[in-house]
């Protein structure tokens, strides 16, 4: 483990950005968000960013390819470029876990090269949470906010930053920062972690259990009468899906620029009425079916295909942002998350 005095934080950011583009959470009047670091920008003290970190690997919009169309002929232009090396600093344990959830989709055969390219070039510096808030429930999904993972795991105390490489990729970046950091024992971090874990155990949602859900439970929940009441006031907007670090549905659309055609990919939402609409019909006619799809996918379908791994990481963004405050916590509690615990 390496240690760095907090007054050297700026020097650390400068050193990282000498070889990598550095992104870190910065405070704005609309909450914290990841921004490219440059001298003068300071690390946000907020618990988490409004938008998740998934943008860095699966951006809201990205160009997939261009077409040149002339008369009857078409030329396909591969617009992929090699991603630059970048460091994503200050990623919380929940978001770190979300990358694993996304990996199992985008890196499964056939590999999505746009995603993989950015994954290969990104180094994750995670950050342990010292003050988790009431909407946090990462523990429900086996995530330890005190042990946040990533390529380099960071812990921050009042006066120092502690860094521990978890991967070769992380080790290489950490090695390059040797002149700024000093070796240290894990004692301080261990002590802080004990405090964090105490705090985690006392969170209001600490007893939320996912045990009732998981692989193979489709029949158990699909026709549950509770879906009606749960989905009743859903507006059908995409806020939950777009602030969610694991929602990964997308649309592919063409955009005629006047000089050619761009085919781009953008986030899409199973909450939208158009999502499954075909000229031949609409399999999910009402908001109930769309609402159910989102939660069944997170709690049952995804785990069925991914060795029981849930596609919720308990970051609490949907809890904070849903315009009508209907969220996965209420769904899990209503459908039996607690009783089965």
């Amino acid at each position: 483990m390496r240690k760095l005095s907090l007054d050297k934080l700026d020097a650390l950011f400068a050193a990282i950005s000498a070889t990598n583009t550095l992104y870190l959470p910065v405070d704005t009047k609309a909450g914290a968000r990841f921004e490219r670091w440059e001298s003068g920008k300071t690390l946000s003290t907020a618990l988490n960013t409004v938008r998740s970190a998934k943008d860095f690997f699966f951006p809201q919009t990205e160009n997939l390819m261009d077409f040149k169309v002339e008369g009857k002929s078409i030329e396909i232009i591969d617009t992929r470029t090699e991603s630059e090396d970048f460091v994503l600093f200050g990623v919380r344990a929940c978001d770190v876990k979300s990358f694993e959830v996304l990996d199992r989709v985008f890196l499964a055969d056939p590999v999505d090269t746009y995603y993989k390219n950015r994954r290969d070039h990104g180094v994750i510096f995670s950050m342990a949470c010292t003050r988790p808030v009431e909407s946090c429930f990462c523990g429900t999904f086996g995530i330890d906010a005190a042990n946040p993972g990533g390529d380099v795991a960071c812990h921050m105390t009042d006066d120092a930053l502690y860094l521990q490489a978890n991967t070769d990729k992380g080790q290489r970046v950490l090695d390059s920062l040797d002149s700024l950091t000093e070796a240290c024992t894990t004692e301080v971090v261990d002590e802080q972690n004990a405090l964090i874990r105490e705090r985690l155990a006392r969170l209001p949602l600490a007893d939320l259990s996912a045990e009732a859900f998981g692989s193979g439970k489709t029949a158990e929940y699909f026709d549950a009468p509770e879906w009606k009441q749960l989905s009743e006031s859903c507006l059908g907007c995409g806020t939950c899906t777009f602030v969610c670090p694991t929602c990964q549905c997308y649309d592919i659309k063409d955009f005629n620029t006047g000089h050619g055609v761009k085919r781009f990919r953008c986030w899409d939402s199973c909450m939208y009425s158009e999502f499954t609409k075909m000229s031949a019909g609409q399999p999910r006619l009402t908001q109930l079916e769309r609402f159910r799809q989102r939660f069944m996918h997170k709690l049952v379908y995804y785990p069925t295909n991914n060795d029981g791994l849930f596609s919720c990481v308990g970051c609490g963004r949907c809890v904070a942002k849903c315009p009508i405050h209907m969220n996965i916590v209420k769904v899990m509690k209503t459908l039996g998350g607690r009783e089965h615990a």
């Binding site: 169309v69 078409i74 985008f106 499964a108 549905c249 592919i252 063409d254 379908y301 069925t304």
Partner: protein, 277 residues
């Protein structure tokens, strides 16, 4: 950029022939600009065709993999992309990527069995690939029956091929039907599900169904009445698709992605899916 091939990036295809099958179905022949097949496929698999600026859509590959020269797609006009395709002329380039989805188990579960193909309307499109595959490897399969129905005689897709080629093959019996009487029609009149029951097939066969959902529902019921088990009946499913590789989330039903885990399902497997198709 990565040496990896990107599954979302298509190749250019040239439309070398357009056949008008019915008032709203055309069959398009597609090869690459250097005259080859864009890729190899198995019967039942699909491909994404697109016209840049208009959009991309998934179609079942109508031609048999045994056709070594080109691929064919029988396409009904019913939306943005299909309307554009129908307005094309020979020589037009489009884009194509694939193949997508699973396939009919033509080399495993089907081998050695009598085959009963049942299609309605444009539902013949995905089956034509399998039928021609079975005809090509004729000795691997037992008797072949094709029951095919449409609204009218003019709406029977591939009518000429069915009459001139399939019906003349040894061991292949074709049973055609149309919904309503027509002066020039001497064949059977009536809906497919009833016709199947009237024909009363023995249950030692594998049945493959494709057509409008309502036809599938009643035909399956009819087959079960005749004594067929759902494990003997296969069908293909259609849902909205964008990526074709089980990632974009659109065609997700339960834990399955129709574009990847389907489109071919055995009817007992469909029962395991939530009722959302």
């Amino acid at each position: 950029m990565p040496e990896l091939k990107e599954p979302l990036i298509p190749v250019v295809g040239v439309v070398t022939d357009i056949r008008i099958d019915t008032p709203d179905v055309k069959t398009f022949r597609v090869v690459t600009p250097d005259g080859k097949k864009a890729f190899e496929h198995k019967p039942g698999q699909c491909a994404m065709l697109s016209i840049p600026g208009v959009g991309e859509a998934m179609f079942s590959i109508t031609s048999s993999p045994t056709n070594e020269e080109y691929m064919e797609f029988s396409i009904k006009k019913c939306g943005c992309v299909t309307e554009w395709l129908h307005s094309m002329e020979v020589g037009q380039q489009i884009t194509i990527r694939g193949p997508y989805g699973n396939a009919f188990p033509v080399d495993t579960a089907f081998v050695g069995h009598d085959m009963l193909f049942i299609a309605g309307g444009i539902g013949l499109a995905p089956l034509r690939s399998v039928i021609n595959y079975c005809r090509h490897y004729r000795d691997r399969y037992g008797k072949i029956d094709v029951v095919y129905g449409s609204r009218s005689m003019q709406d029977l897709v591939d009518y000429k091929e069915i009459i001139d080629e399939w019906a003349n093959d040894a061991g292949v019996t074709v049973h055609l039907t149309i919904d309503r009487e027509q002066p020039e029609w001497t064949g059977h009149v009536g809906f497919v599900p009833n016709y199947v029951k009237e024909l009363g097939f023995s249950t030692d066969k594998i049945a493959i169904l494709c057509g409008p959902p309502i036809m599938i529902k009643f035909t399956l019921a009819g087959l079960q009445e005749l004594g067929f088990d759902k494990t003997q009946v296969y069908t293909t499913m259609e849902l909205r698709m964008k990526c074709g590789i089980g990632k974009c989330g659109r065609c997700n039903i339960g834990s399955k992605y129709v574009c990847k885990d389907g489109p071919v399902f055995r009817c007992d497997q469909i029962d395991e899916l939530p009722n959302e198709y």
